[in-house]
Structure formats: structure tokens, C-alpha cells
């Protein structure tokens, strides 16, 4: 263990304060009784109640959830398939190009992704709305899923699938009965990641949505331009909560699996030694 030093403690405190103070202030002010954001007038949950009566926000919330669930589910299926192909196919002509192309959207500026998708949708004459946001979100979150799943697949022992084939499974059954259950934690993490990415995307959604569909981040952004209201604080607090839960669950799912496996393996070693 390193010794305690004032310098380390101070940098740590400042760093975390910088990261989390704004969010903490936002959360505190969402419980402010006053209409004025800058004046504290006692504790109240009335803005949460207001929020529930605000049709526009509720609509936006519904759109956001719909988009997030559908796009992350499609992205999980496609991303998993892409990961399997990339990990399994071995060498083929243009492999590096292919894997590069799967990962490129990870680093592509969102503005460019959004703009190019917008041009595409206009080009093929697709009416912008929930569908186009779903397509856009699927496109970029699929890459994240495939990164998460392929890192798990790399360590997957392929003789397990062969054993399943040997025992009479068709290739599809082997995947469904053996591979999928084993890589499930990675697939679930991938889904949660895609879900949270979709939930807090503003830029791509703004480019690809039309008048019929507004997501929550878009709604927040547009209302803040008219001035910050305590309702927005309440809404943001809820979103912070959801995203936090999502991220923590994703990491717990994969961590607890690793930890359990290690614990049980140690137990097995003791057993066989004794």
C-alpha cells in the first residue's frame, strides 16, 4: 500500500469534485421547492409530480425507451453475429479491412455519423421518425456490442462446439445450447451498453428524427434553451439513475461471473488436493 499523502488526497478530491459536483448539484436542485433554479427554498418532490403530468415529457420518454429497447436488441443480435464471424473466420482476404470497418464507427465523430445517416434517409426517401432513430442507433451501438462480445469469444474454447456437434447437435443447436449460454454475460453487457448509449444520445437522434419523434435528451436540450426549469433537473436525475443502474448491472454481470468461476475453481483444487 502507498502511504497517504496530502498531494494525492487533494488531487483525488479535486478530480472527483470536477467530475461529480455538477451532477450532485443538479440532483440536489431537483428536490428544490422553489421555481427559481438558483434559490434554495426547502426540500420537495413536487417537480417529479409535475413531470408525470407533463404530456410532452412523457411522450418523449416513451419514444426514448422504445428506441433504446428496439435498437439495442437489434444491435445485440447483429453485433454478436459480427463478433462471431470476425473471431471465427480466421484469415480471409480483406479481414483487417472488415474488422477495421466494424470498429470505425466507434471513433467516428457523432456529427458525421448523424449527418451521413440523415443524407441516406433523405436519399432513400424514408420518413424520419422513430424508425430512423432506431436504425441510426442500431448502426452505432452494434459496434460496441461486437467489441464486448468478441473479447469474450476470443477466450471461448471452440472444442466445446465441436463436442456438441459430436454429440449430435446441428450447428445451430450447438450455438443455441452451448455457445450462447456461455457467452451470455457478454451479450447481456453488450445489450445494456447499447441501451444506455441509445438512452443518452442527443446528436445522432437530432439528425435522424423528424417532427413526429422527439427523444428525452432532445426534449431536455430544447427546453433548456428556454431556461433551466426544476422539472428538467428532476428528469435528468431520473436519467442519471437509470444509466447508473444500467452500467453497474453490466459490470456486475460480467464481474460476478468471473469471481464465481474463480471461487469455485479454488474450491475444486482444495477438494482434489485433500
Amino acid at each position: 500500500m502507498r502511504r497517504f499523502s496530502w498531494f494525492n488526497a487533494t488531487s483525488l478530491t479535486l478530480g472527483f469534485a470536477f467530475l461529480y459536483l455538477p451532477m450532485i448539484i443538479l440532483i440536489i436542485y431537483s428536490f428544490n421547492a422553489s421555481k427559481l433554479v438558483t434559490v434554495w427554498a426547502g426540500f420537495s418532490t413536487k417537480w417529479y409530480g409535475e413531470l408525470l403530468r407533463n404530456e410532452a415529457f412523457l411522450d418523449a420518454a416513451w419514444v426514448t425507451i422504445k428506441v433504446a429497447v428496439i435498437s439495442s436488441s437489434i444491435a445485440t443480435v447483429l453485433g454478436t453475429m459480427a463478433a462471431i464471424v470476425m473471431v471465427r473466420s480466421g484469415r480471409f482476404l480483406g479481414r483487417t479491412l472488415f474488422s477495421g470497418m466494424i470498429y470505425a464507427p466507434l471513433v467516428m465523430p457523432e456529427v458525421i455519423t448523424g449527418l451521413s445517416l440523415l443524407l441516406l434517409f433523405i436519399g432513400i426517401g424514408l420518413d424520419r421518425g422513430v424508425l430512423t432513430i432506431v436504425l441510426a442507433h442500431t448502426t452505432f451501438s452494434m459496434c460496441y456490442v461486437s467489441v464486448v462480445v468478441s473479447s469474450r469469444l476470443v477466450s471461448f474454447d471452440q472444442s466445446l462446439e465441436e463436442a456438441a456437434l459430436d454429440l449430435g447437435c446441428s450447428p445451430l443447436q450447438a450455438f443455441h445450447l452451448v455457445t450462447l449460454p456461455i457467452i451470455a454475460p457478454a451479450v447481456i453487457s453488450g445489450w445494456l451498453l447499447a441501451f444506455t448509449l441509445s438512452l443518452d444520445d442527443l446528436v445522432i437522434a437530432s439528425f435522424t428524427s423528424g417532427p413526429s419523434a422527439t427523444t428525452l435528451p432532445m426534449k431536455i436540450w430544447s427546453s433548456v434553451r428556454l431556461g433551466v426549469s426544476p422539472e428538467i433537473n428532476a428528469l435528468s436525475t431520473i436519467m442519471i439513475g437509470i444509466v447508473t443502474i444500467g452500467v453497474i448491472t453490466a459490470s456486475l454481470v460480467s464481474k460476478s461471473n468471473v469471481a464465481r468461476q474463480q471461487r469455485e475453481e479454488r474450491a475444486a483444487e482444495r477438494l482434489s488436493a485433500g
Binding site: E162, A164, D166, Q173, V178, E264, A268, L271
Partner: protein, 374 residues
């Protein structure tokens, strides 16, 4: 007692269950299996023996359908296997890495293949329980594979491949992780299973003793080729090359030149100032041709007094390896050649006949060794 010896490979009418016809397997430039032709017959217990990397697993994987031959054909019961996928072959394989399903319990692992066949529930339960009993895993049925020891995992893998009672069972080093006693028991268990079910076994092993115990025939492999296929006794007594002689068991190898032939005996000159070795060749040798004389340590006698054997040399005891039931003496001849002689310890150790630095005679009969070309 007059009993029919099981030797279908000698019967020209016997139909092989497995036929490799000029099979070559390349991985890139690397030749893993090199123009291999072999027939394996029904109800055989066929052992593949060879050093690591010689292509044993590759042969198994081609039989199971996970690799396709680069050239040549593999026939199962006379049918070309090339277009048949692994799940449609009446073959089960026990993987060297076990390949147990980590998310399923021991019980479910064993039941896996039976479920795929749609076996009725109670019949399946009975079969799985029988397999658990056979491999002594009853107590571990509910455990997951990572909750049991290496040897137990190996037994689960064995039980899983046996459960479907296939016509052909491929075992890739199936008993390597078991301790000696359990290994021997399982070997007899396997032979018993074969008696009862008539399954054909192909087994890969590192352990020549195991191959000797269980196999009807042994194939010794080297670099993707089969060097010799024969019964365990033939392989041991009449190896066809120094490679096989050296690979199976302990052997003294002496290099020399063919001398005069007298009747069916051949003399071999091998060192200045030492008498010639007399041997009985199986093949003909030209005079002056290089010969490797191979003799097993247990065929070499060691005595204090000059023996009556036709081949005898004087030397001194350099080293003694005491193995309990046996002792191996390393005897150095005056020219530096070491001869290993093995004797059974039927007396207590304190009254053992020879000790270090003792002057002794090593000797053997003129039919005890084998004469090899290479």
C-alpha cells in the same frame, strides 16, 4: 484351450470399419498426416502411439469430421465420409481437452447426447446413472465441471462419450490425468465395455504400457506416418525399426557391421577387441552392411561367473536402478558401451547379488535380440 484368436486383419474377407486411403492432411505448408493408409476392423481396440505432435489428434479429428483430408479418402463401414458432417456420423469422440460444457452439471453433460437423440426421460436417467456408476461419479452428478478435480473431469468426458453407445469411439488420451490405480481399473473397464457392446475403439495414448494392456493392435506413428502396425507382442518382440524399438519400452541398441552368415545365424562385428554378436536375422543383410542390434534389458542376463550363452561380455556395474520388483543394472564394457540388464528381485534387497563396481558378465542367447536396418 483352443480359442479363436481375434485377428480380423489377417482375414482377407473381413470388412474394415475404418479405412484411410492415402490420406494426407496439410496445415498450410506443414504436413500433419503424410499419405497414410490403414484399415481398422470392427471390435478392434486400436491404439495410436507416438510422440507429441506426430498427428494422432489430427487423425481422430478427421475421423470425427472436424478436419477434412487434403488428399485421399476416409471410409466408415465402406462409405466415403467426406460429405458427412460430424453430427451425422455414428462416431463419438472424447476430447483431449475434455471439452465439458461449463454451464451444465456433470449429469447434464452426460445426458447431452442422449437428449439430442430424443431418448425417453426415464430411459435417459437410467443410462446416465449407469454411466455415473461406471465412472464412479455418482457423488458429483450435481456439480459443475469447474467444481471437480482434473481426474474427475476426465471421467465425465469419458462417460459423456460412452453414453450414446456409439459404434466407433475415439478416445484422445482418455486416461492421462488419472492416477495409476484408477487408470488400470478404467482400462479394464474399457475392455469390458468393449466386450459387452462390441464398440470399436480407437485410442490415442502416450503410455505404451496402456497401449500394451488394452490394444488389439498398436500403430506407432512418427511425423504423420505410421511406422509399424502390429499386435502389442509383435511390436515389442519384433520391432521393424530402431524408432519403434526405442519408443516401446527400454532397449539396448548396438550399431555394427554384418559379418559372415552361418546357417540362420549372422555375426555382427561392433567394436575393436570385443567378440562378435551372434544374432538371428529375419531379413537378409549384405556383408558389411550397417546393422542395429536391439535387445531388451530383461533378455540380458547378468552373472558373476562366465555364462554358457553364445554372446557374452565382461564389464563392471556402473549404476543400479532399483524399481522394487525389478532392478536394472547398467554395465559398462571396456570399450565404454553401456548394456542394461534387468533382473527380477525375487530375493530381499540385502541379499542382492551385485553391487557397484562389481566385475560381471552380461550375456544373451543368439535369438534374444532383433537385427534392424535403420
Amino acid at each position: 484351450m483352443p480359442q479363436d484368436v481375434f485377428a480380423p486383419w489377417l482375414d482377407p474377407d473381413a470388412k474394415p470399419i475404418i479405412q484411410f486411403k492415402n490420406v494426407t492432411k496439410r496445415f498450410g505448408d506443414f504436413i500433419a498426416i503424410d499419405d497414410l493408409t490403414i484399415d481398422i476392423y470392427e471390435r478392434e481396440f486400436f491404439a495410436l502411439l507416438g510422440p507429441s505432435g506426430c498427428g494422432k489428434t489430427t487423425m481422430m479429428r478427421m475421423l470425427a469430421g472436424f478436419e477434412t483430408p487434403t488428399e485421399g479418402n476416409i471410409l466408415l463401414s465402406g462409405q466415403d465420409m467426406a460429405p458427412v458432417p460430424p453430427n451425422k456420423r455414428a462416431v463419438n469422440m472424447m476430447f483431449q481437452s475434455y471439452a465439458l460444457f461449463p454451464h451444465l452439471s456433470v449429469w447434464e453433460n452426460i445426458a447431452f447426447g442422449l437428449r439430442r437423440d430424443g431418448m425417453p426421460k426415464d430411459e435417459m436417467a437410467a443410462r446416465v446413472d449407469e454411466m455415473l456408476r461406471l465412472t464412479r461419479l455418482e457423488k458429483f452428478a450435481r456439480r459443475k465441471p469447474h467444481q471437480i478435480s482434473g481426474g474427475q473431469r476426465q471421467r465425465v468426458a469419458l462417460a459423456r462419450s460412452l453414453a450414446k453407445a456409439p459404434k466407433l469411439l475415439l478416445l484422445d488420451e482418455p486416461l492421462g490425468a488419472l492416477d495409476k490405480k484408477l487408470r488400470q481399473e478404467t482400462q479394464f473397464e474399457l475392455m469390458d465395455i468393449q466386450e459387452k457392446t462390441g464398440t470399436t475403439f480407437v485410442i490415442v495414448t502416450h503410455d505404451q504400457e496402456e497401449a500394451m494392456t488394452v490394444a488389439s493392435r498398436v500403430a506407432v506413428m512418427d511425423h504423420g506416418k505410421i511406422v509399424q502396425v502390429a499386435t502389442p507382442a509383435e511390436i515389442y518382440e519384433t520391432p521393424n525399426s530402431t524408432y519403434v524399438a526405442d519408443f516401446i519400452g527400454d532397449v539396448n541398441l548396438i550399431e555394427g557391421k554384418a559379418g559372415e552368415k552361418e546357417g540362420d545365424k549372422l555375426s555382427i562385428s561392433w567394436a575393436e577387441g570385443q567378440p562378435d554378436i551372434i544374432g538371428t536375422p529375419q531379413t537378409s543383410f549384405d556383408k558389411g552392411q550397417t546393422i542395429h542390434f536391439a535387445i531388451r534389458p530383461e533378455k540380458v542376463s547378468i552373472t558373476h561367473d562366465k555364462p554358457t550363452n553364445p554372446v557374452a561380455f565382461r564389464g563392471k556395474v556402473l549404476d543400479i536402478a532399483y524399481l522394487g520388483n525389478l532392478s536394472t543394472y547398467h554395465v559398462e564394457l571396456p570399450n565404454g558401451q553401456i548394456i542394461k540388464a534387468q533382473t527380477a528381485n525375487n530375493r530381499r534387497i540385502s541379499r542382492r547379488g551385485f553391487t557397484w563396481e562389481d566385475k560381471v558378465w552380461v550375456s544373451w542367447t543368439d535369438t534374444a535380440g532383433v537385427l534392424l536396418e535403420n
